[in-house]
């Protein structure tokens, strides 16, 4: 599942650094939603942070609490570290943003999505992971931050069985 994002430059999907993203089904949001988010600035500082804690702080200005309402799906062992499929869904209400952080990448924040009012809060992405890492998903909902984490192993490959 991929969220739709609007055409306005400030609302474009935010990508930087080691994140490599394949998007499917980009569409247009209703005008009202695009307008409501038009004041958001590109979070340049957050994307420059090396650790995931610093990036979360720069992006949201506060800490997240772990929640089982955030469902982060990623493989335990990546078949290809260059394109690791990850996705987040949540049962939380009033979701306003979803972000992915790859702790061991040179810059931890991989992607951050603004979720417009009335949009199903689900995002799928392909992330590049330099090595085995903790993957963190942040969901911003009703002004609070929630997280889920999963370890993804990037292996040189070996022999089973």
């Amino acid at each position: 599942m991929t969220t739709t994002t609007g055409p306005h430059p400030t609302r474009r999907l935010i990508l930087q650094g080691a994140a490599s993203v394949a998007l499917i089904g980009l569409g247009n949001l209703p005008f009202a939603a695009a307008h409501a988010a038009a004041n958001d600035k590109y979070p340049e500082e957050a994307f420059k942070q090396k650790s995931e804690a610093d990036a979360i702080k720069a992006l949201y200005g506060r800490n997240a609490e772990p929640s089982d309402k955030v469902k982060l799906d990623a493989p335990e062992i990546a078949e290809n570290g260059g394109v690791v499929p990850v996705s987040v869904t949540t049962t939380l209400d009033k979701v306003t943003s979803i972000s992915f952080l790859v702790a061991e990448n040179p810059f931890a924040l991989a992607a951050s999505y603004k979720i417009a009012d009335g949009t199903i809060p689900g995002v799928a992405n392909r992330l590049k992971m330099a090595k085995s890492t903790k993957l963190v998903a942040i969901v911003e909902a009703d002004g609070k931050l929630y997280s889920a984490t999963k370890d993804v192993k990037v292996t040189v490959g070996g022999c089973g069985g």
């Binding site: 394949a22 499917i24 799906d73 493989p75 335990e76 062992i77 990546a78 078949e79 290809n80 085995s132 370890d151 192993k153 292996t155 040189v156 490959g157 070996g158 022999c159 089973g160 069985g161």
Partner: protein, 583 residues
């Protein structure tokens, strides 16, 4: 004599009789150990990881099979005496020989070889005949098509014919995938049973390009499950292929497919079988490996029994695992055709009341080979018998592979690679298949192929820095000893020749491997570049096939040249009951 022999066999597992017949008699029809008390209304027979061993084999179980974290000291991570004590098996018995490494050579002389598909056929037919029509099912857990020279040259077609005659009704896969998609599909066209895999999906690119799939809606490449009516009840069998095929093997064999454990998809499928299809029992035919199955059983609800394989653990009793929906039994049925698992289920409407489980060693000397299967095997082997019977060497010691860190077979392969390819260090994969040869038993071409027959056998020589070598060892070591089983791939540690090191299995990745030294005793330097030889690379290589390189070395009259043993010093696992000696 007949009566005494029967007593002996009865005592093999659990009784306390003291007998020491020198050898089981040949040509015995069947034996009382195979007389199972009738129980329940549905019988499932399960074989797994036979690795295409058509004829009976010697196969030494490991003396090192360490469990860490929650798995420490728990089945399957018990070896030797700890194993006997846990399962109540008498030492010096036939079962002690079948299930453990203890006194292997001495017992091999007494009890002979195990397995063989003509012997297996006799036993399967008998156990199915005992319960009557439509009351049994025969399942194979995968790694059926690979492991011998014959399976290699026939690309598994031999095993499809054998599977059809044996009567395998459903299977899943692992090494089957290493023949590539087209060969796999061609073989499955001939296979009379079902190939099941709930956890193999088209990649998005392949789905976009309209690649063939069983279900384009879900992207599942294969049928996930089959419902069979046995004993008047509906039993669902779900297939779980090896989750890490494109990681453990070259990705070029399965470019369109993506694997994984797929716990969530599995749960949904179990729920649909229970809720929509109203099945009475759910069996998972799994190639996850036992540690993964034990974790999965604690998280996925609604499965009655997981019939497991991959890790080649011969575990005599099922392990009950609690989860939110009840209890799931987890088994693992050994390897190389040594064992036939018998699962007798007492099924009521919508539930399994009780289960009895036997993991029967297939003592080839106690079972008359089935003539039809013997004829088929003879016919399949005929074109190669002359070439492959050629003797290439006679080792002066027991040759076995299985063990967490090393074994004489791989020491020999590493020595051959280093010598023939003029390398300081050799690396050889930690496969768990490959049979055992007794000291003084002449090795044939066929024996060598049974240790090496894979679809990516090319050797290589490359330069690696000491730091890169350590990284590779750390990475593979984590596949064995990550405390979370979902991050394990199965298989054993890569074997290292020309190199010794200390391993601390209980440490974290990056800290397990230390004190790396060359054979000269000189410490490995992180920045120095070393010449490293190997085979079975997941990247394409151009060197001669490993069987040619090792064959050349052995034909030159050389054998072991250096230290005995693995070269690995273990730290931090002194009291671990997964260690009974070198290896």
């Amino acid at each position: 004599m007949a009566i005494r022999r029967r007593d002996f066999l009865k005592s093999a597992g659990l009784a306390a009789a003291s007998l020491s017949l020198p050898r089981l008699a040949r040509g015995t029809d069947t034996a009382s150990i195979y007389d199972l008390e009738r129980f329940g209304n549905a019988r499932i027979l399960h074989i797994t990881d036979t690795h295409a061993q058509l004829n009976p084999v010697y196969f030494r179980e490991p003396s090192v099979n360490i469990g860490v974290g929650e798995m420490a000291g728990r089945p399957p991570h018990l070896v030797g005496r700890a194993f006997l004590e846990r399962f109540g098996i008498r030492s010096d018995s036939a079962d002690a020989y079948a299930f453990t490494c203890l006194e292997f050579e001495k017992s091999a002389g007494r009890f002979g070889k195990l397995g063989g598909f003509s012997h297996l056929k006799t036993l399967v037919d008998r156990l199915r005949g005992d319960v009557g029509e439509k009351r049994s099912l025969l399942l194979d857990g995968g790694d059926l098509w690979q492991g011998t020279g014959l399976a290699h040259v026939m690309q598994g077609r031999d095993m499809v014919e054998v599977a059809n005659l044996l009567g395998i009704e459903a299977m899943t896969g692992h090494w089957e995938f290493t023949y590539g998609e087209q060969t796999l599909r061609d073989n499955l066209e001939r296979f009379k049973g079902e190939f099941l895999a709930q956890n193999v999906f088209l990649t998005e690119e392949a789905a976009f390009n309209d690649a063939p799939a069983f279900d384009k809606g879900t992207g599942r490449v294969f049928k996930p499950s089959v419902i069979k009516e046995i004993g008047g009840h509906r039993v669902a069998i779900i297939g779980q292929a090896f989750p890490y095929v494109p990681i453990a093997h070259p990705k070029r064999f399965t470019p369109n497919w993506t694997f994984g454990i797929r716990e969530e998809e599995l749960q949904k499928h179990v729920d649909a079988l229970r809720g929509t299809d109203k099945v009475d029992a759910v069996i998972l035919l799994s190639h996850n490996g036992m540690d993964v199955d034990l974790k999965l059983a604690s998280r996925v609800t609604g499965i009655d029994v997981i019939l497991g394989g991959h890790t080649h653990d011969a575990v005599p009793q099922p392990i009950p695992v609690k989860n939110a929906g009840g209890i799931t039994l987890v088994t693992n049925a050994g390897s190389n055709g040594k064992f036939l698992a018998v699962v007798d289920l007492a099924i009521d409407k919508g539930k399994v009341g009780d289960v009895r489980y036997h993991l029967l060693p297939v003592y080839s000397e106690l079972l008359k080979p089935d003539p039809g299967m013997a004829e088929l095997i003879g016919r399949l082997r005929a074109p190669h018998v002359t070439d492959w019977s050629a003797k290439i060497a006679t080792p002066d010691r027991l040759l076995y592979r299985r063990g967490n860190f090393s074994g004489p077979v791989d020491e020999l392969i590493c020595t051959a690679l280093r010598t023939e390819l003029d390398a300081e260090i050799a690396l050889s994969p930690g496969f768990r298949w490959g049979v055992t040869a007794l000291s003084g038993q002449a090795l044939t071409v066929e024996d060598l192929l049974a240790e090496t027959a894979i679809t990516y056998p090319e050797t290589y020589v490359q330069e690696m820095t000491g730091a890169q070598i350590k990284d590779v060892l750390e990475d593979i070591c984590d596949n064995l000893f990550n405390t979370d089983p979902y991050y394990q791939q199965g298989g054993d540690m890569v074997r290292a020749g020309g190199l010794s090191y200390t391993c601390t299995p209980t440490a974290a990745i990056g800290s397990r491997i230390s004190e790396l030294k060359l054979n000269s005793g000189k410490a490995l330097s992180a920045s120095h570049r070393y010449k490293v030889a190997g085979w079975a690379s997941i990247n394409g290589q151009q060197g001669a096939p490993v069987w040619d390189v090792v064959g050349k070395y052995l034909r030159s009259g050389r054998m072991f040249q250096e230290r005995l043993g693995s070269g690995v010093t273990l730290r931090g696992v002194d009291d671990n009951p997964g260690i009974a000696g070198q290896g």
